[in-house]
């Protein structure tokens, strides 16, 4: 997951609607099962899916009252090597 990508998607949700992301996810999830894709291509789709799900989580947090910066940082802290003991 990449913070700038998630941030950009969160801004998109803010300006439009999360339904766009949800529907795009359905398309990408379907596409990821298509025959003929090589591993690298599937991983690119997977990365997009991952960022989109991440943006939905962050948007949910913001909706419940968390500041955007805190929501983004909190989410990234959790998903990127948050446990390293």
């Amino acid at each position: 997951m990449k913070l700038p990508v998630i941030k950009s998607l969160v801004e998109f949700i803010d300006n439009h609607d999360e339904d766009y992301i949800i529907e795009t996810l359905e398309v990408l999830e379907h596409l990821s099962q298509a025959k003929g894709l090589n591993d690298e291509e599937v991983l690119v789709i997977a990365e997009l899916i991952s960022n989109m799900y991440g943006s939905l989580e962050v948007a949910k947090d913001i909706k419940s009252g968390t500041a955007q910066k805190d929501a983004l940082n909190g989410f990234m802290k959790r998903v990127m090597g948050s446990i390293d003991r």
Partner: protein, 345 residues
């Protein structure tokens, strides 16, 4: 002491230390499935098999699949404690969708644990076998003690706390586990009960005299909320008296004033969303009461989401539990059992 405690836990949940020592330390991608009583949660993450480390969480996805409600419906109609054909179909379809999504991340391992509803259902094991065959899912039904220790380990991983000073409170759709470590006896202690989200909501339906075919008690008026709260307190008090570990739990909370960390969908999703809390914030009794007043009188549509039927009763349930347990504040964790599955199983 902490090491000894963890060793007990490790042996109980079949996490072999030797296996870790001989395994390659290359990062592996694991898909974990927490097959709970009210929802199935999937997480795909990279982990280092040589130490408790999640490198990256790729994706998390949750589906509302009401196994506990299905069992209660069958029980209510005098039937056997078996999952219906309808819920089996829903479970198969849900697992297919989640695995399809997980496939995009090419996981090397797929592990799953099933909890209370599967412990009770006579055909729960059959459904797990189907998933083993169809998705190569390494899944099993865990005992309530194993579930409790797994939750305890997740909390200790995120928030290392002196054993004997930590109480882990895990509550889902069909059961709740409170777990602590007795330093004198050097053993884990549990209070396990089936007072949980779905079971409580169904009791509320009875207490408020709702129609038998009604699935949701909403809208709940302020007067009805008082009835549900009082009845809930009585039910919990009775359960504490008659269930192993109940009195020890009260003694532990009163004498040790432990740090209380909560896991599971009731705390981490339902309450968190309704109270508008950020991760790691605390849930306070006063805030809870305010939120109940705010949610009273709302229909399912006004509450919103897949879990509207249980959201308001979850608030009442937690308030009643806090009252009886003698808790004024506790912290919820955004982590859940899937982290434990990935790290320790």
């Amino acid at each position: 002491m902490k090491i000894l405690g963890l060793l007990v836990a490790l042996s109980l949940i079949s996490c072999s230390v030797n296996k870790v020592e001989t395994e390659s330390c290359e990062i592996v991608t694991v898909a974990a499935f927490d097959i709970g009583s009210g929802s199935t949660k999937m997480m795909v993450a990279d982990k280092n098999p040589c130490k408790p480390k999640i490198k990256t969480i790729h994706i998390e996805k949750s589906l509302a699949i009401g196994y506990a409600q299905d069992l209660l419906n069958n029980e209510h109609q005098g039937g056997e404690l078996r999952f219906s054909d309808a819920i089996i179909e829903e479970g198969i379809e849900g697992m297919r969708k989640l695995n399809q999504l997980a496939n995009a991340f090419n996981p090397q391992k797929r592990k799953g644990v099933a909890t209370q509803a599967f412990r009770r259902a006579k055909n729960g094991e059959q459904l797990l076998q189907r998933w083993r065959d169809e998705h190569a899912l390494d899944a099993r039904i865990i005992t309530q003690e194993e579930e409790a220790i797994l939750g305890y380990q997740v909390v200790q991983t995120y928030h290392p706390t002196e054993d004997g000073k930590l109480l882990v409170w895990d509550m889902g759709g069909g059961s709740q586990q409170l777990t602590w470590f007795d330093r004198e006896k050097q053993e884990f202690k549990f209070f396990n009960t089936n007072i949980a989200s779905v079971t409580f909501k169904n009791r509320v339906l009875e207490w408020l005299g709702r129609d038998e075919d009604q699935n949701s008690p909403n809208p709940i008026s302020s007067d009805e909320y008082e009835i549900a709260f009082e009845q809930g307190v009585n039910w919990i008090k009775q359960t504490l008296l008659t269930t192993e570990g109940g009195q020890e739990l009260l003694h532990f909370i009163r004498n040790q004033a432990p740090e209380i960390r909560a896991l599971g969908g009731v705390h981490g999703a339902s309450l968190r969303r309704q109270l508008g809390l950020s991760p790691e914030e605390s849930i306070k009794k006063a805030e809870l009461i305010k939120t109940i007043q705010k949610q009273a009188g709302k229909t399912d549509a006004e509450v919103g989401g897949d879990f509207a039927a249980t959201d308001v009763t979850n608030l009442i349930l937690v308030r009643a539990l806090m009252n009886v347990y003698g808790i004024d504040e506790y912290y919820f964790m955004s982590a859940d059992l899937n982290e434990g599955i990935i790290l320790f199983l």
